[in-house]
Structures are given as structure tokens and as C-alpha cells.
């Protein structure tokens, strides 16, 4: 049933939110964001199957391209921050705080 797929998508998205909220390791936070993008993708593809319409597949492709761009930029930023601070703690990365 398509509703099972949507429920799984909701559960995975909530697990991603829990990962972002509870962890301080910047890699885990980043991969939790990827998990949320994947959950949204599963929702797109499941609704696309429900309506027998392929627009959801194209949207999932777009989300994957955005995730790839995000991965490249985020990893560059992580390397820079690790070079400057020598740490992976998100609480240390408060450079923009006034």
C-alpha cells in the first residue's frame, strides 16, 4: 500500500530531525540532513506511484542533484573548519555569533 511508504518516509524524516537535534558531531549532523532529503525523495516517488504520473521522479532527480551540490560544499566547509579549529564539535563552530 502506498500509505505504508508515506509512513516510512515520515518516520525516516523524524529520525533525521532527531539526529540533527541530538548529536554534536558535524558529520552525523550532515548525514542526518541527507537522511531527511532521502525521506522526502521516498515521499515524492510514492505519491508519483499513487497518481501514476512521473513528475515525482523528476522532482526526486532534482533533489538528488541539490544533495550532491550540498555535499560538495558542506564537506569543503567541514575541511576548512577542521583546519582552523582542529575539532568536529558543532558548538565550537560559532564564528558568526556577535
Amino acid at each position: 500500500m502506498v500509505t505504508h511508504y508515506l509512513s516510512l518516509s515520515v518516520i525516516l524524516f523524524c529520525l533525521g530531525i532527531l539526529g540533527v537535534v541530538s548529536r554534536r558531531n558535524v558529520f552525523i549532523v550532515f548525514m542526518s540532513i541527507e537522511l531527511m532529503l532521502n525521506a522526502a525523495n521516498l515521499g515524492f516517488v510514492a505519491l508519483s506511484r499513487l497518481h501514476v504520473n512521473m513528475d515525482g521522479h523528476v522532482l526526486a532527480l532534482m533533489v538528488m542533484a541539490v544533495a550532491a551540490a550540498e555535499a560538495a560544499l558542506a564537506l569543503a566547509v567541514i575541511i576548512l573548519l577542521h583546519k582552523h579549529k582542529g575539532n568536529l564539535d558543532t558548538n565550537i563552530f560559532s564564528l558568526l555569533k556577535g
Partner: protein, 168 residues
């Protein structure tokens, strides 16, 4: 019937992988557990007869993006003592469940109001490379071009950020 069993098996694997991601302490263990989630999601796309998305999930997500992340984790050579301490992590998990749980229940109940269609795998062109490609290059041509510009900008930005020499 087989698709139902496959769905529940893959869904269980996906949830277990996601739980491992937010529980394991070392990011390498978390990344390996996240790969399990990504591969089982690829299987779920195949069950939803999204053939192109299935292949791209395996190649781009489980292949390219995750190998990039694992490469960076190994490149930074993270030891046990470099990991941030999470003293009140379970406190945040409990707070997050209290906030997120009702929203999740609401969304799952909303999804129950949708028509209950059985998922059968189509063996015609639905979701194949040709059909999705035709849609992508006719109706979705402008978003496709915008995404290509986004990828170019991200590439230039990553080179500028990570490729600095002698700046400390």
C-alpha cells in the same frame, strides 16, 4: 504478496540503518550504517517501479556521495579522542521525540486518508529511462538547466573554499 514481504524487510533495514546513524559514536560507523539505509531505499524505489531513480540512487547516493563522505572522514583521520562528548545527548533525544512524535502521528494519520492502492510493479515504461527523460527534457527543461547552473556554482565554490593555499 512477495512485494509486501519485501517492503517490510527493506523498511525495517532502512529504519535500523537510520537508528544506527544517530546512535553510533564514530562517524565512520554512522556512515556505514547510513549506506544500509540508502541501499534499502533503492530497493523500495524498485518496488515502486521507479527504475531510473533506483539506478541513480545506487550510483549517485550510495556510490558517489557516500564515498565522498567516507573519503573525507578517513582524510581527516578522526581518532576516538577527537570526537565531541555528548553528555546530555539522550536528554535531547527525549525532547526531540516529545516535539516530533505528535507531528509524525499527525502526518501518518493524514497519509491514511489517501486511497489505498496496492503497489504492483509495472512492467511497462513507467519510470524507465526513456519516459522520465522525455518528461525531463520537455516539461522540466528550465528547472533542469537551473540545477545544472547550481552544480556549476557549487563546484566553483568548493574549489574556492577548500583549495586555499597559505591562508591560516
Amino acid at each position: 504478496m512477495l512485494t509486501t514481504y519485501l517492503f517490510f524487510g527493506l523498511a525495517l533495514l532502512a529504519v535500523l540503518g537510520a537508528l544506527g546513524l544517530i546512535i553510533f559514536k564514530h562517524p565512520m560507523n554512522g556512515a556505514m550504517s547510513f549506506v544500509v539505509t540508502l541501499i534499502s531505499l533503492a530497493g523500495l524505489y524498485a518496488l515502486l517501479s521507479a527504475k531510473l531513480i533506483f539506478a541513480i540512487q545506487l550510483i549517485v547516493y550510495a556510490g558517489a556521495i557516500m564515498s565522498l563522505i567516507v573519503f573525507i572522514i578517513m582524510f581527516l583521520n578522526i581518532q576516538e579522542k577527537d570526537l565531541p562528548l555528548d553528555p546530555n545527548r539522550w536528554f535531547y533525544v527525549a525532547g526531540g521525540i516529545i516535539v516530533v512524535g505528535p507531528i509524525a502521528g499527525l502526518l501518518i494519520n493524514i497519509s491514511r486518508t489517501l486511497p489505498a492502492t496496492e503497489v504492483t510493479v509495472f512492467d511497462d515504461g513507467f519510470g524507465s529511462v526513456k519516459e522520465v527523460g522525455q518528461l525531463l527534457f520537455t516539461q522540466w527543461l528550465l528547472p533542469f538547466e537551473i540545477v545544472s547552473i547550481l552544480l556549476l556554482v557549487a563546484l566553483v565554490g568548493a574549489v574556492v573554499l577548500a583549495g586555499k593555499r597559505g591562508v591560516n
